[in-house]
Symmetry: C2
Subunit: 297 residues, 2 copies
């Protein structure tokens, strides 16, 4: 135990690279500003999933652009040039703040949520995008959009983003170069990932949702545990297809769901060509260890 | 209108075959015994989806083996040698009879339903299977299982079926040759359809559920209509993959969801190599017309 801890500590500052020279971006997931200490302590190479929902869930009203900007700026500055991928609002009838006034739904997991809310209520979306773009002047910020199923959605997003950028330019507010990616977490997105890859800068595979939709099993429903298979072959094939399609289009692909931290699968993912794994801070060093011990030469 | 009706009537008794000679099985969906008249009137070549749930939903207790047997036998006899595909119980927390005592679920569409209930409560399943096998002595009956996601489920089903057959044999009760297929209505099943095809006699693609899981959109939720695309490319690709994998394994594949009756897609499905379309009785002749007008030579 003690020995293992020392071994891991020795990996801080080291690269996440296989013995045969393939480098993996090893990022951390963050669900709150208070996670930042653990992110730094565990030597994350970036933040692969900044769950911006918490900003909304901890309030009894929409967070203002200024409030959001301060937090994004703070994270970007603290990460000091390392990539910070902010996922835009991912909320729905099952996980919401009252002030959103979302109606109760029969199947909230397949409901009005995430990017669907942002596209139907663009004033909410624009406030967040303005805050993110303003913060991008202070670090290395990327954006990713959750629950995408089509190119049409990406086109609508692009249009709103262009409006936000034009507004900022008109006001003389600086912003940085912001990469824009999408979550691949619906079977639809995985299956047409060849098409989607042409529209974005990167993919981040959300394995929790991807698995529940692929298997048609609510991952919260304990009654279905006997049917649930976290390593279902269909999910692994969709991941592999997504990575291959990303590379064909010249973009990178990572995993930010729980499967990304599943050490039984690390080798398989690296062999698929995965470019990034974003995991809970405490999983960073154990995964770095596995990757560094891999030798496919 | 009048003219069109006459044209369609003239198609009764005709084959469903393209001008270049490719034959399609054109079957009817049935949701109740009272649909049988329409099935015959519209010259269905078989019943591609007999929704056995109605037997359960119209009662305040489980239908007995004898009650089920009489109904299946009646349908099989009435169809006089034409194929009757009985789908086993497809029920869940969102569509149930009280006596099932299913607990309320957060996401019933991805919940404890269909084959999952049958595998966890095999006494319910066995009663239905015994009734179906007994009826198979009186006509051309096939069985299909809903909501399959894995080979393991098929193996468990096979084991229960063998027990049922052994029981009947011991009692000297006759039964016919019963083909057994599965619904392909989860993304998982479509993605591993190459594996599943080795385990069954046919596939029937349930496009309604397949679409809702693939898009992660509850098809009953009107709020999502703006995002729903019934002709989403991902769904069409999964259908095409399923048909190709069926053929590779030497089995046939059909469609029994709403998309099967979508005349905008009939040509596309025939070109994919679909073997069967099972549709509402009133759609039989219009689709036969389209198929007969197709010439790919
Ligand atoms: Mg998600
Ligand atoms: Mg279904």
């Amino acid at each position: 135990e003690q020995e293992n801890k020392a071994l891991l500590t020795a990996l801080k500052g080291k690269e996440t690279i296989t013995a045969d020279g393939r480098k993996i971006k090893l990022y951390a997931n963050m669900g709150n500003v208070s996670d930042l200490a653990a992110v730094l302590q565990n030597d994350a190479e970036g933040i692969g999933l900044f769950r911006s929902e918490f900003l909304y869930l901890e309030k009894d009203r929409f967070p203002t652009e200024e409030e959001q900007f301060q937090i994004y700026k703070n994270v970007a500055e603290t990460m000091a040039g390392k990539r910070v991928i902010i996922r835009t609002l991912d909320i729905g009838a099952d996980k919401q703040a009252d002030y959103f006034q979302l109606e109760k739904e029969e199947n909230p997991a397949m409901g009005y949520r995430a990017i669907r809310i942002c596209l139907e209520q663009p004033e909410i979306f624009k406030t967040q995008l303005r805050a993110i773009f303003r913060a991008s002047a202070y670090g290395n910020i990327s954006i990713m959009y959750p629950m995408i199923i089509s190119k049409e959605e990406i086109k609508k997003i692009r249009q709103i983003v262009e409006e936000v950028k034009a507004d900022l330019e008109e006001l003389g507010v600086p912003y940085g170069k912001v990469e824009q990616g999408i979550m691949i977490e619906t079977p639809a997105a995985a299956v047409i990932s060849d098409e989607l890859a042409k529209e974005v800068d990167f993919f981040s595979i959300g394995t929790n949702d991807l698995t529940q939709y692929t298997l048609a099993i609510d991952r919260q429903n304990a009654k279905l545990d006997v049917f649930y298979d976290a390593h279902h072959e269909a999910v692994l094939r969709l991941i592999e297809m997504t990575v291959a399609n990303a590379h064909k289009a010249g973009i990178w692909a990572g995993i930010c769901g729980e499967l990304g931290a599943d050490t039984e699968l690390t080798e398989r993912f690296v062999n698929m060509g995965i470019d990034e794994l974003s995991v809970a801070p405490g999983c960073i060093l154990p995964i770095r260890k596995i990757v560094r011990e891999m030798d496919r030469a």
